[in-house]
């Protein structure tokens, strides 16, 4: 009896402890004037020079003071910490003139010395900054400070869009890299709880002011909650816990629209594309006849013409997508080619073309000249409902041609292994995120020698004449000094891609956002970060 009551006592004690423990460690309540939204995962680093993932990039965007800012709305480079800047005609010398009276968040003054030190640190191989690669040959870059407010950067080789590169270089106090704790941007990293939240607070010494002279940012801080679950995010958004949703999935758009129509925004096509491609790598572990199909232009164009893109946009994205035929989206005003001639849907013409290429029908099944039934798999990543729907719709479309398609969804690491290391796949359906409208940022995808040349990575020599032509055109646009010449080269690449269909473009997903009615100052843009690119001008209604 005594043992039993002692047992009960000890159990109660443990229970009480457990209760206490579970009550601790909750997310901090919201501070007044603080903006809040979610990020999908923990930022890998707070050191602005070492940023190599999306969420760290967001934190850098919100906290870093930069010489030049790429305005996501006007898509033009604007001076930020620099009062003015100039680029020499040969593109190899940059001169920045800093504003007067600049300060860091801790009150210390910001001079050319700090700017030069920060730039040099980014260029150092020891830092391993991904942005150093944008300078092409970082070791040859020199930085001088003729006086306290002037910084001169000499480049060994001209870099296209060098202004945008400085949007990614944070100016930190010389000799004191602080991992975001001392910054010249609108906010400063204040608190970080792993897997819970990142808290930023207002920089009291931020140099920008609004038109009436009020110091920016308006908000007292920002809380970024680490949350990967759309259901919870939307519940909390509806309850007012979050002020915006960056990247709303299409199926939740309709639901939110019904409840609060003023809160949702559909900005039309984004810069991103969803595409399908066939494995054309000669070394792939596929049977020779399959490689023959995938390397045949007729086959690829046939598949492309049999897909009903309008259905993909309407059903898989609930209307929040636009059929795509090229890698430049209509949202990219400067580079979009209106006169592109693309192969349109026409199942009858496709059947004729396939017959001409030696295919024939055995009952309802398509077979090649040697009698092999046309069977292949489409690989995509698990967890993306829209892509799974598209793959299933395409499976049905190709069934009308007699092709037997299997849809396989894998988790990302296994998928990447097949795509980039073993080339053990037949067709793949994935999306590409474009953060930079300039096609020069896509060199890695179009150059045949690149490991990101998805359908045939790391070619020692272009395998076909048209790939060689794409290489020539992309190299031309990278080195040309004339805008018209660059546009012509990129148009040429788009036409080759439309004729050869190495990537079968499917849709441009629309940019979908949700904004709380309480949030003022939002000007949604298509480029990332679409809702908070002007974070210093955002404020909550009733706070202030």
């Amino acid at each position: 009896m005594r043992m039993r009551s002692r047992f009960v006592q000890s159990v109660s004690a443990v229970l009480a402890a457990a209760f206490a423990v579970t009550c601790a460690g909750q997310a901090a309540p919201r501070l007044p004037g603080e903006l809040a939204w979610t990020i999908g995962y923990d930022p890998k680093t707070f050191d602005p020079a070492k940023v190599d993932d999306q969420e760290s990039e967001l934190v850098r965007y919100l906290t870093a003071g930069v010489l030049l800012r790429f305005n996501r709305s006007t898509q033009k480079v604007e001076p930020q910490l620099a009062e003015s800047w100039s680029l020499s005609p040969d593109g190899k010398t940059l001169i920045f003139k800093l504003r007067a009276g600049l300060q860091f968040s801790d009150g210390s003054s910001l001079t050319a010395k700090d700017a030069a030190w920060s730039i040099r640190r980014v260029l150092l191989p020891a830092t391993g900054a991904p942005v150093a690669e944008e300078f092409i040959s970082a070791s040859g870059v020199t930085v001088e400070t003729p006086d306290e407010r002037t910084v001169v950067v000499h480049l060994p080789k001209r870099v296209i869009g060098i202004g945008k590169v400085f949007d990614e270089i944070a100016i930190e106090p010389a000799e004191h890299p602080s991992e975001g704790r001392i910054t010249a941007g609108p906010f400063v990293v204040a608190d970080y709880r792993r897997s819970q939240f990142v808290r930023l607070r207002r920089n009291p010494h931020y140099q920008r002011r609004d038109s009436s002279g009020v110091a920016l940012p308006y908000a007292s801080g920002v809380r970024l909650d680490v949350l990967d679950n759309h259901e919870q995010e939307i519940r909390l958004f509806e309850r007012g816990e979050y002020d915006l949703i960056d990247g709303l999935p299409p199926d939740y758009f309709g639901m939110l629209k019904q409840k609060t129509p003023a809160a949702v925004r559909d900005l039309g096509p984004s810069l991103n594309t969803e595409q399908m491609w066939f494995n054309q790598a000669p070394g792939a572990p596929l049977p020779a006849w399959e490689k023959g199909w995938f390397q045949s232009q007729v086959f690829r164009v046939a598949v492309s013409r049999a897909i009903h893109r309008a259905d993909l946009a309407r059903i898989a994205y609930e209307g929040h997508a636009t059929p795509a035929y090229s890698f430049i989206s209509p949202a990219n005003g400067e580079w979009y080619d209106r006169d592109l001639s693309v192969p349109h849907e026409d199942v009858a013409a496709v059947k004729a073309a396939l017959t001409g290429a030696g295919f024939h029908w055995n009952g309802s099944a398509l077979e090649d000249a040697a009698g092999h039934p046309v069977k292949f798999s489409i690989l995509t990543n698990a967890g993306n409902a829209a892509r799974m729907k598209m793959a299933t719709l395409i499976q049905e479309d190709l069934k009308s041609l007699g092709m037997q398609v299997t849809v396989v969804a894998l988790d990302f690491p296994a998928l990447i292994e097949r795509l980039m290391h073993t080339q053990d796949y037949e067709a793949c359906l994935l999306g590409l995120e474009n953060v930079d409208p300039d096609p020069n940022a896509m060199m890695n995808v179009w150059l045949s020698s690149s490991p990101n040349h998805q359908w045939n990575p790391s070619e020692k020599m272009p395998a076909t004449a048209w790939e060689a032509e794409i290489d020539r055109a992309m190299n031309l646009q990278a080195s040309s000094l004339k805008d018209a010449e660059r546009k012509q080269a990129v148009d040429r690449v788009q036409q080759i891609v439309a004729d050869q269909q190495p990537f079968i473009y499917l849709v441009y997903p629309n940019a979908l956002y949700a904004v709380s009615p309480r949030l003022q100052g939002v000007q949604p843009a298509v480029l990332e970060p679409g809702l908070v690119w002007n974070v210093e001008s955002l404020r909550l209604d009733g706070a202030r």
């Binding site: 639901m255 698990a382 719709l393 499976q395 299997t406 969804a409 894998l410 988790d411």
Partner: protein, 262 residues
């Protein structure tokens, strides 16, 4: 007894209705009526359509037949394996028994997620959806037994040490005859396990879809339809999404009624 009979007839009736729905001329589980995605009930589609415009009734019926057969078979295999391992361990010499439970514990703790990924990478990508389904249920059956084996081991040990068993063994009862006496007494432990495994395997099959296993498109997956319930926008759009879960509860109740011990 009457309840049992009634439940069996009901279950048979449901199976026959499902077969009739699937085999009816003109009904297809993969045909996409793209003009009417997520439509409500109509003359053409008695239970409406899913997000890709496929007839929900035919898909639920086909999923019912496919997943139920697979899950019941897999649950039976797993329960039998647990019974076998648990009983053998209990009736062997003590060290073998402890070894058996050691293997059981190790098995329980290993991260089988990765083995499943390896299974997927060993299969050719063009494995047909039906083969993929069969392999998935096989794998689930192979992985599900340790959870119950320990409880069976405990129960079997108790039986082994119970008076009547001691007397029987002293009287010369051996091997197969022991099994004939032991197994019926283990049924109260095994039956709930069997009944729990069925919905667990149905859902697990759908979760394996995230690894590339599971029932491939366009074959309907019951687990996949159940997982649709986690999307609040679906729940608010049409109430026909509740058809699969309603059917599942009905089936589980019928099975429970059939398996009751009096």
């Amino acid at each position: 007894m009457r309840g049992r009979l009634l439940a069996s007839w009901l279950l048979l009736g449901l199976v026959l209705i499902a077969v009739a729905v699937v085999a009816a001329p003109g009904s297809s589980y993969s045909n996409q009526d793209r003009e009417q995605p997520l439509a409500g009930a109509s003359m053409h589609h008695l239970a409406g359509t899913d997000t890709l415009g496929r007839d929900r009734l035919v898909r639920v019926a086909a999923a019912f037949l496919l997943s139920l057969a697979g899950a019941i078979a897999a649950a039976a295999v797993t329960t039998a394996a647990a019974a076998g391992v648990g009983t053998l361990s209990a009736f062997s010499p003590a060290t073998l028994g402890r070894l058996g439970m050691l293997v059981c514990d190790v098995f329980l703790a290993l991260p089988w997620l990765f083995m499943l990924m390896m299974v997927r990478s060993a299969l050719p990508l063009t494995t047909s959806p039906a083969h993929s389904a069969a392999i998935t249920f096989l794998v689930l059956a192979a992985l599900g037994w340790p959870a119950c084996a320990r409880a069976v081991y405990r129960g079997a040990l108790d039986l082994r040490n119970s008076e009547w068993m001691l007397q029987a063994r002293a009287g010369g009862l051996r091997g197969k005859q022991i099994a004939r006496h032991v197994l019926p007494n283990l049924v109260p432990l095994l039956m709930p396990q069997f009944l729990i495994c069925i919905p667990a395997f149905i859902i697990a099959e759908a979760n394996l879809g995230a690894l590339g296993l599971g029932i491939g498109e366009p074959l309907p997956s019951w687990g996949g339809m159940l997982l649709e319930l986690d999307n609040s926008s679906m729940l608010l759009q049409t109430s026909w999404v509740y058809l699969p879960i309603a059917l599942l509860i009905l089936i589980l109740l019928l099975l429970e009624a059939i398996a009751v011990e009096v």
